[in-house]
């Protein structure tokens, strides 16, 4: 579904990611793990059109999306939930979700999606009138993911969904992601929380110094001595 081929990208002409390749099969969860500053987020930003591709290519359903702006990717079925949530703070939770369906013009369809989100996340429905920046971190993360789902993506990209959340909420978020995958959405997830992420994912890539250095099924990487040493604190 998504293929990243030897991508080099960075900020203001300074490359951060030198050579990253990965492949995402439809219906799977693919994880991207690695230490701070290894280039995970930059790679995602390149995929979603926020950073220029200096070399290599990105193919989505066989078509190059290198340099395509993020607002166009939404219409193609790619949705990204950024690190730090980036909710529209002064809008209500409901309005945030409605903005998520900005590319949809059919009001009935939007309402239908909203109701299915509420069914999935009753707590979000309870809070729908509340201003988004008054929610707790966990709730904000739920709303951010829910907003990402409102465009009914085929590919959902999650950047550090568990960052700054307490363990109980982390479990909740991960269960939620699993349910999203079960509903047929392909998921790419970038996480510092490597163990839980690898356990959940079908396939995973390890990034180091701007390169994808290791890959394998989640289970295989969990068992890998090198990975254990470097990222799992073992």
């Amino acid at each position: 579904m998504l293929k990243v081929e030897h991508v080099k990208t960075g900020y203001d002409g300074v490359p951060v990611v030198h050579n990253a390749s990965l492949q995402v099969e439809q219906g799977s969860i693919v994880a991207l793990v690695g230490s701070n500053g290894s280039g995970k987020t930059s790679l995602l930003r390149a995929v979603t059109g926020a950073l220029p591709i200096m070399r290599g290519d990105i193919l989505y359903k066989g078509q190059s999306i290198a340099g395509v702006k993020s607002f166009k990717l939404v219409e193609m079925g790619i949705s990204m939930v950024p690190e730090g949530r980036h909710l529209f703070g002064k809008m209500s939770v409901r309005d945030n979700l409605l903005m998520g369906a900005y590319s949809v013009r059919d009001k009935g369809e939007i309402e239908k999606r909203l109701q299915s989100i509420y069914k999935l996340l009753p707590r979000v429905e309870e809070r729908q009138r509340q201003q988004a920046d008054t929610l707790s971190g966990g709730e904000q993360q739920m709303v951010a993911i829910a907003r990402g789902l409102m465009s009914k993506p085929e590919l959902l990209i999650l950047d550090e969904p568990s960052l700054g959340l307490m363990p109980k909420l982390v479990t909740e978020i991960f269960e939620f992601i699993q349910r999203i995958k079960d509903s047929g959405v392909t998921v790419i997830i970038v996480e510092q929380n490597a163990v839980a992420t690898l356990e959940m994912s079908d396939y995973a890539y390890v990034m180091q110094n701007g390169e994808t250095v290791l890959e394998g099924t989640g289970q295989a990487l969990l068992a890998d001595e090198q990975v254990k040493k470097a990222y799992l604190g073992g």
Partner: protein, 286 residues
């Protein structure tokens, strides 16, 4: 009492033009964090559209208003695409000062093309006369800026709150990056905001020609007071800009009426200073 009411009324009329300028500045600042130093020049251009529509076609400013708003809207789009969008990719200082340079270009271009002398409408306007309420005499044409300010404030409020584009603009103003991620084209939201602000100034310019002379540098004063109104209302707050504009107009006129016209601007400044002493971020600032 009747003198006071008359003064109050005149103050609101004068304040309406400031309110219109200020709403444009507040919109542009609120959405894209650009200080629009060229808002006064858009007002000036609106006045020239009105002047030529009157001189060449015999149109009343009120009839020329939609034309002027349209011309300035289109000009706003061109200026945004050609200049502002590029500056936004540059360092912060050029983002802040680009409209300042733009205003100088517009002033001197106007001087080159239209001449530097003072002008007033040459053909008689049809929408004129007075309404005498006994305690208040209303010059009909002076109602135009006030009504316009009310309508523009209402329309902007409605547009931003209830339309798809308006919501996109609000979302972009809160978080440009996130706006792109939900499928909004942030660049288009910026373009429309900038063009709307200049269209508002264009319409205000038309209203102003009913009772004010025009010359290439006419925008400077209004620009300055418009800025103060924005600061007083709370940066980025359109409602605040609207109310402060009116308040400053009232302060200006009443000081002139009861103290001395020579020092009427001091009255405005005192109102401003007192306001920001108690609310440093402005009336509606957060």
């Amino acid at each position: 009492m009747s003198v006071f009411l008359q003064g109050l009324y005149e103050g609101i009329i004068n304040g309406s033009i400031l309110a219109l300028i200020a709403m444009g500045i507040a919109l542009v600042w609120g959405v894209m964090n650009i200080l629009s130093f060229s808002q006064g020049e858009f007002l000036m251009l609106g006045m020239f559209v009105s002047y030529y529509a009157n001189r060449l076609l015999g149109l009343d400013p009120i009839v020329a208003m939609p034309l002027s708003a349209l011309v300035l809207f289109v000009l706003g789009i061109i200026i945004y695409k050609l200049i502002i969008a590029r500056a936004l990719r540059g360092p912060i200082l050029s983002q802040r000062l680009i409209t300042f340079a733009l205003s100088m270009v517009l002033v001197y271009s106007a001087q080159l093309f239209f001449g530097a002398e003072y002008k007033t409408l040459s053909n008689p306007v049809k929408f004129s006369g007075t309404i005498d309420l006994g305690f208040l005499t209303i010059a009909k044409q002076k109602l135009v800026p006030f009504l316009l300010a009310l309508i523009v404030a209402g329309l902007l409020f409605w547009f931003l709150r209830y339309t798809r584009m308006g919501k996109a603009i609000q979302a972009t103003s809160m978080d440009r990056y996130a706006a792109g991620l939900v499928g909004i084209n942030p660049d288009r939201a910026y373009t429309i905001s900038f063009a709307l602000a200049s269209a508002v100034a264009g319409a205000a310019g038309c209203a102003l020609t009913y009772y004010y002379y025009l010359y290439p540098n006419v925008g400077a004063t209004f620009q300055l007071w418009g800025f103060i109104a924005v600061a007083m209302g709370g940066f980025g707050s359109i409602t605040g800009a609207f109310l402060s504009g009116l308040l400053m107009g009232i302060a200006d006129t009443l000081t002139g009426l009861y103290v001395n016209t020579a020092i009427k601007y001091i009255g405005v400044c005192v109102v401003f200073l007192v306001t920001v002493s108690f609310r440093p971020k402005g009336i509606f600032g957060k």
